[in-house]
C-alpha cells in the first residue's frame, strides 16, 4: 500500500544535504576564527531548512583533505591540520584549559592519555601565541600549535616524523 497521505504533517524534520560551498571544508583557505554570519553561511542556510550543511556527503575518504602532510597521520590517515575547520572551538577550549574540541584535536594528533593534561596546559599557557589577535585564521592557529609542539621536549614526538 502506497502511503502518501498529505496529512498536513508537513514540517516533520525537514532536512537538506549538500548546501555548502566547496571551499568550506578544511584547511588552506584561511577561515577566520572569529567569524560572523558569512563564515557560517552554510549552517545558517541549513538552519532555515533544518538540514545538513555540508557537501561532504560520503567524502570523508579524501586522505589529507589537502592539508599539510609532513606529520604522522595517526587519525584515519588524515592530517590534523583539518581541525582548522573547528579552530574557533579549539581556541575557546584552549582559553578554558579543556573541552571537547581540544580533545578532538588531541585525538587527531594522536596524543596519548598520559600526555593529554600536559597538552591542555601547554596550549592554555600559550594562548596568546596561538591566538594573538582577533584576525587570526584557522590555519595560523594550527601552525602555531604545530610550532609549539615541535619545540616542546615532551610533545615533539607527535609532530616530527
Amino acid at each position: 500500500m502506497k502511503k502518501k497521505i498529505l496529512t498536513g504533517l508537513a514540517l516533520v524534520c525537514l532536512s537538506s544535504a549538500s548546501l555548502a560551498d566547496p571551499d568550506e571544508h578544511g584547511c588552506g583557505w584561511g577561515n577566520l576564527v572569529f567569524e560572523g554570519k558569512s563564515g557560517l553561511a552554510p549552517y545558517v542556510l541549513a538552519s532555515i531548512t533544518n538540514g545538513t550543511a555540508s557537501n561532504a556527503m560520503f567524502g570523508m575518504t579524501s586522505g589529507t583533505n589537502g592539508c599539510q602532510t609532513h606529520h604522522p597521520l595517526p587519525y584515519g590517515g588524515k592530517s590534523w591540520f583539518a581541525a582548522a575547520d573547528f579552530a574557533d572551538s579549539i581556541i575557546e577550549d584552549i582559553a578554558k584549559g579543556e573541552g571537547e574540541a581540544l580533545d578532538a584535536l588531541a585525538v587527531m594528533i594522536g596524543i596519548a592519555d598520559e600526555d593529554r593534561a600536559y597538552f591542555n596546559q601547554l596550549t592554555h599557557d600559550n594562548f596568546n601565541t596561538i591566538a594573538p589577535s582577533s584576525e587570526v585564521t584557522g590555519d595560523q592557529v594550527m601552525l602555531a600549535i604545530d610550532k609549539l609542539l615541535t619545540n616542546d621536549g615532551r610533545l615533539a614526538k607527535y609532530v616530527v616524523s
Partner: protein, 633 residues
Amino acid sequence: MKHNASKHFHLFKYLSLSILLCASSYSLAQTYTEQLQQQAEDQKLYEKPYWLALGHYQAVSRSNKAFESYSDDPKFFLSEHGKYSPQEELKASISAFFAPEKTGDEHAQCRFVARLNWIAGELSLDRKQLPQPNCTAYQIWRKAINAETVTVIFASHFVNSPSSMYGHTLLRIDPPKSDKPSKWLSYAVNFGANVREGDNSLFYAWRGLTGGYPGLFAIEPYYKKIKQYSNIENRGLWEYQLDLRPEEVNKLVTHLWELKGISFDYFFADENCSFRLLELVEIARPNLDLLSSFEYRAIPTDTVRVVRDQGMINNIHYRASHIEKIKYITSLLKPKQKALAHDLSLDTGLAEGSEYKSASLADKQNILYVAYNYLRHQQSKTARDKAMAKRSHRLLVEINESGNADLSSLPRPYNPIEGHETMSLTLAAGDEGGEEFIEGQWRMTYHDLLDPGPGYPLGLGIEMLGITARQWQSGRSTLERLDFVEINSFAARDIFFKPSSWRVNVGMERIYSDDGDQLAPHITGGRGVSAELNDNLLYYALITGRYEYNEMFKANHQFGAGLSLGLIGAIDNFNTTLDLTSYKLLNGVERYSITFGLAYDLAKNKSLRLMVEGVKEGVYQENNMKLAYRHYF
C-alpha cells in the same frame, strides 16, 4: 635461430594454454553463476524480508506479491526492472558479482557489499570462485568509519522555526571505546532532502509534501552537527546509544555504503529522516519490526520511542545548546551582574572597571562566560564585524586568565521521549449558552499549551489535524472545529535574547451569533512579544490578522485585525492559559473573547481540563464551559 624458434614455440604454448584456461574458468564461473541463481530461485530468496530490506522494497499489494522500492535511483538497481522486481534484482546481482573484475570500485562486489555478504551466506557461496576486484574506495571508507556502536541523535525542537518544530533525528557511528575516541570526530549519518542553495523554503515545503525532492544520505563529522544544532540553531541534542553489537553495526555500515549517492522518495510526513534511519536499524538487526507502526506519519520522537520499546537504548546523554548554557549561567548572576555582562559584551573596557574588578572569581567567570558567549551568539547572526571580533578576542583573553564558568550543575531537561504520546482523543461534557452538550475530539498530533509539559518546551504548541464534534441536548450534532494546523510559539524575551512570538491557526470553526451559527473557514495569525514573569509563567501580547469565509455575511470573504493578550503557566501537574482576544472585520463585525483553561495531568498520558469561555459579537453574548478528559496514545 633454432633456439629462438623453440622460444617462440614455448610462448605460443603458454599463450594458448592461458587462453584455454581463461575460457574454461569463464565457462565454469558462468555455470556456477547459473547454479547460484537457480538455488536462489528454489529457495525464494527474493521473498526474504532481509532482501526486501536491502532493496528498500515496500509491498504495494500483499496478495499478488507486488513490490516497489522506495529508491527511484537507477544506480541502486542492477536489473532494469529492479525497482519493481526484487526477484529480477537478486538474479542480476548474482550475475554482476561474477562480472570481470577490471572495473574495480565500480564492480558490483565493491558497490553492494551488504548484498554480497547476505547472498553469500544464504547460498553458501564459494567466495574463491568470485572475481577479486580491488575495492579500494570502500576499504579506505571502512577504515575511516571504524564503527563499533551506533547512537540515535534527536535534535530537539527549535522554537520559532516551523520547519523544525518536531525535531530531527540522525545516527552517529562511534569507534570502539578502546580507541579512546572523540565524539566530535564520530560520523553522523543524516537523511534529508537534497536542497539546492537557490531554493526558497516555501518551494521546499511544497515539493517536500508532494514528493518533488530526492532524499539522500549524507555522512559528515559530528562536530559539524554540534556547530549547526547546538551553537547556531540552539537546539539541545539528545544522544541515545543503541545496544547494537559490533557485528550488527557492521551490517548497518556495510549497507550504508550501498546508499552512497542513492536518492529516495522524500516525504515530510512519513518517508522522512526518521523513517529511513529506522530502516537502517532494521538492517542491523534483521528480526526487528520497527516500521509497521508508521503507516502515515513518522514523528522523530515517536521513532525514538519505538527503539526504546524494543529495549535497545543503553545509555542517554544530553548535549545542551549554546543558549541553554548562557541562560543557566545568567540565572546564577545578580541583576546588576547581568547588566554588567551585557555591557561588557559591548565594551570590554569595563573589565578594568571597579564593578568587575571587585567581583569574586566565580562571579567574574560567570560574567565573562555570558559576555563572551552572548557576543558570539550575536555575531553568528550578523555579517562579520571587526570590532566585534576584537571584543570577542579580548574576552577570550580574559577567560584564559580567569578560568571558565562552572557548568557542572547545568540541569538536564526532561527526556523528550518520556513526554506524553503524540496522538490524542478527548471526551468533554459542557454547556454553551444554556444548552448542554457532549463533545469528542481527535487530534493527530502533537502538543498544545495545556497538555502535560514534561518533555515539551513551555510556550510551544503544535497541532496538526484535529476534528471536534458535538452532540447537543436538543439532539442536533455539529462539527465544531476542523483544525489543519495550529501553532503557538511563545519565546520569552530578556536582556540578552529578543525572539518574537507568534501563533497561526488554519481550519474551520463554528461561529455563534444572533443570526444562528455557521462553520467558517479561516486563517488567523498573530505576531508579538512575550516575557517571563518567572520560570513557570509567560505573558504575551500579539497583533493579529484574520481572514474568514462566512456565509452569514453579505460579503462572504472578510479580513480583519485585532489584538491578543494572555498568560501561560505551568506548575507541577497543572497547566493554565488565559487569553483575551478581540478583532474587527472589515464589514464592521467585532468579536471579543476571554478564554481560561486549566489542566491537570493525571498521568503521563491522561489529563483533565476545564475550559471556560465568554464570547461577544455585537449584541450577542454567551458563556460556555466544559470539562474534558484527554487520553494520549
